[in-house]
Amino acid sequence: MPGTWVYAHQDLGEPVHVDGSAILRPVVPLVVASELPAVLGVLDSGSPISIANADLFTWLGVDIDSDEPLYEIPLSVGGGFERTPVFRVSLQLRSPDDDAEAAPWSLDLGARGRWRLPFAVLLGQRGWFDAFPTRIDATTSTVELHADAAYG
């Protein structure tokens, strides 16, 4: 599935800027299970890793309480630090208009509890940008898909 998919940034209902304009996030829809709606992933090139709401891992086939993580990383949570387990999982990127087959890839994803962000997944350098070359401007994200589809 070579080509590019262009995603318009989305207003997730966050407080507006001081000038009254909406905060727009670079969002992509992610399929975790065929019978479920897509969850939202926000692209963040400044994040070295990718993490997600811990609730999501049940649908990714991971029991975060009993499965052995690949490794753990310290992340700040509520003013303190928590060891965040990282697991190898598979996700699928849904096309912008949901009119093409979703693009599957594998990534290392941290499971973070007490998640209060408006999206379910934060996609960073490891897990997203090393799989999908992406150009982000003020209003859209352009994602390159490669024919070899060796995502992860």
Binding site: P15, E35, L36, A38, V39, S47, I51, N53, D55, L122
Partner: protein
């Protein structure tokens, strides 16, 4: 997301249909996905509506 839905569902995880209307909501993502799966409810996307006092996310702390 529409302003009326933001006001109504602040702090809740919501499932939105193709028209952008809320078809289900829950306090946590896991319980919302469980409900959608069990009921076979069709939805387009899932997101959390920011709470009124939620800090603005600018990167991993």
């Amino acid at each position: 997301m529409r302003a009326d839905l933001v006001e109504r569902f602040r702090g809740r995880w919501v499932a939105l249909d193709d028209a952008g209307d809320v078809v289900a909501d829950s306090e946590e993502l896991g319980s919302l996905l469980e409900r959608l799966e069990a009921a076979g409810v069709h939805a387009h996307t899932v997101q959390r509506v920011p709470g009124a006092d939620d800090p603005l996310f600018v990167g991993l702390g």
